[in-house]
């Protein structure tokens, strides 16, 4: 689908409103394929039935034009802004916020946003510093890519950080990821995508873990060393037997994605951000003249 708006700020707002709802209703194809394959290879009786129910649920949502899961999440966007894109990021942020509100009120969607101390609702899935936006700025380019990732709380609550020491090495990283996923059990709606951020600093490792869950199933880290670790962890995680919804089985995770950054010689941070099977995401590309292309990946 593609649209053209003359007002660029309006185009970004409309795109956000569309992306949020689209992501909630329509599970990406890579994930559908991964769930179908998981269903076929699962041997435990409850595990298989769970996966059959999940696959059926994705189809029911489509047939009924309903959202897949009731948790509309917190709206997280990743933005790649070209150096020559003619709308300032402050305006992009404002447009994303209003778009999120419009989607929430017009659909209508459940609003989850509350003040973190008073727990009072702060707005239609918006509030102070909500939505959350990850920014990336690209030189020599004039476009804007926006990806919306409504992040459910059941899986977000299963986020873990450990400041391993260099002597813990790769073994320490593996052990921490395995312990995190076994400890999470059925709470984050497995099988999902395990996002791992390594290196950088404490906050950046968690940022990277969130970037990792936004990747489609089947993608690998471009660094061969990191990609090898992704494969090893994927196999080990599925040996734990936690299974679909923590009821036991062969499929504990659909994928393990790792993002990394170089770090200090005395640091070895490991962050785990779990993404449930309903790993929702939707993207749009916006040109400087307000032309919007909706596609799953940009």
């Amino acid at each position: 689908m593609s649209t053209v708006a003359t007002d660029l700020r309006q185009a970004v707002e409309d795109a956000a409103a569309h992306l949020y709802v689209w992501a909630l209703k329509d599970i990406p194809q890579d994930l559908r394929d991964a769930l179908a394959a998981a269903k076929d290879r699962e041997t435990s009786v409850p595990g298989r039935r769970v996966l059959e129910t999940i696959v059926k649920n994705v189809d029911v949502a489509e047939a009924e034009n309903n959202i897949v899961c009731q948790d509309t999440g917190i709206a997280v966007y990743t933005c790649r802004v070209g150096e020559h894109f003619p709308l300032h990021p402050a305006k992009i942020y404002e447009a994303l916020k209003i778009g999120t509100e419009r989607a929430t009120l017009n659909t209508p969607l459940r609003s989850n946003a509350v003040h973190t101390l008073t727990r009072e609702n702060t707005g239609p899935n918006t509030g102070y510093r909500l939505p959350i936006v990850h920014w990336d700025f690209l030189p020599g380019w004039d476009g804007l890519d926006v990806k919306c990732i409504p992040k459910g709380s059941g899986s977000e609550n299963m986020s873990f950080l450990k400041m391993c020491v260099p002597a813990d090495g790769v073994k320490g990283i593996k052990q921490f990821v395995l312990e995190s996923v076994v400890g999470a059990g059925g709470k984050p709606c497995p099988p999902g995508i395990v996002g791992v951020g390594i290196g950088g600093s404490a906050d950046y490792a968690m940022f990277l873990a969130k970037e990792a869950i936004a990747r489609p199933v089947g993608t690998t880290n471009p660094d061969p060393e990191v990609a090898k670790l992704e494969r090893e962890l994927f196999d080990l995680l599925n040996e734990t037997g936690v299974g679909p919804m923590g009821l036991g089985g062969d499929v504990t995770v659909l994928s393990c994605h790792i993002e990394h950054a170089d770090t200090h010689m005395t640091l070895n941070p490991v962050a785990v951000n779990y993404q449930c099977w309903a790993a929702r995401r939707a993207s749009a590309h916006i040109t400087p003249d307000g032309h919007v292309d909706f596609d799953r990946e940009f």
Binding site: I54, Q175, G186
Partner: protein, 194 residues
Amino acid sequence: MAEHRLTFPTSEEDIRKLHAGDLVTVDGHILGIRDRTQIRIFDQGVEPPLELNGAFLLHTAPNVRKLGPGKYEPMCVGTTTSARMVRFTEPLGRDHGVRAIAGKGGLPDEAIEPMAKYGMVYFALVGGAAALETTQIEEIEEVYWEELMPECLWKFRVKDFGPLWVGIDSHGNSMYRDVQSEATKRLEEIVAGL
């Protein structure tokens, strides 16, 4: 693994027939509750506005559309992570005669004893399968404590609600405890081989 069909509210006798791992489909009335609903009942000491005896409690905060005063249409009704609310298990059974608590991800082991003592079960739903569950809800009959929206106390009439697994039964068994102890054992073996 046996399969059962139950209509709620139900009796202790029927609940005692269920065993961990069984598959259950439910008809009748179920009540939606969440963190704030139970904080109000137990921490703030407010009497629930309706009878909980024999009840099926679903951990949920639904997406709804308001039709008129106190009247809502279900848009997308699913379930939430139960573990956060485990401390309410004992008083729900002891003081209110609740028979079933349903949600996702299981309840920690501290729920096993009160469930055995008071004749309760934990039902596991497929977390996230909300579009499907919504088709099993016939009507939202009542809403209490609307000011807690969406964490109100909801009364749903359901048909063919499920599939539900008996995650914890009233005989001291828990699928979660079994899976966790097996996974912990495997984890130790994996880590030893790293």
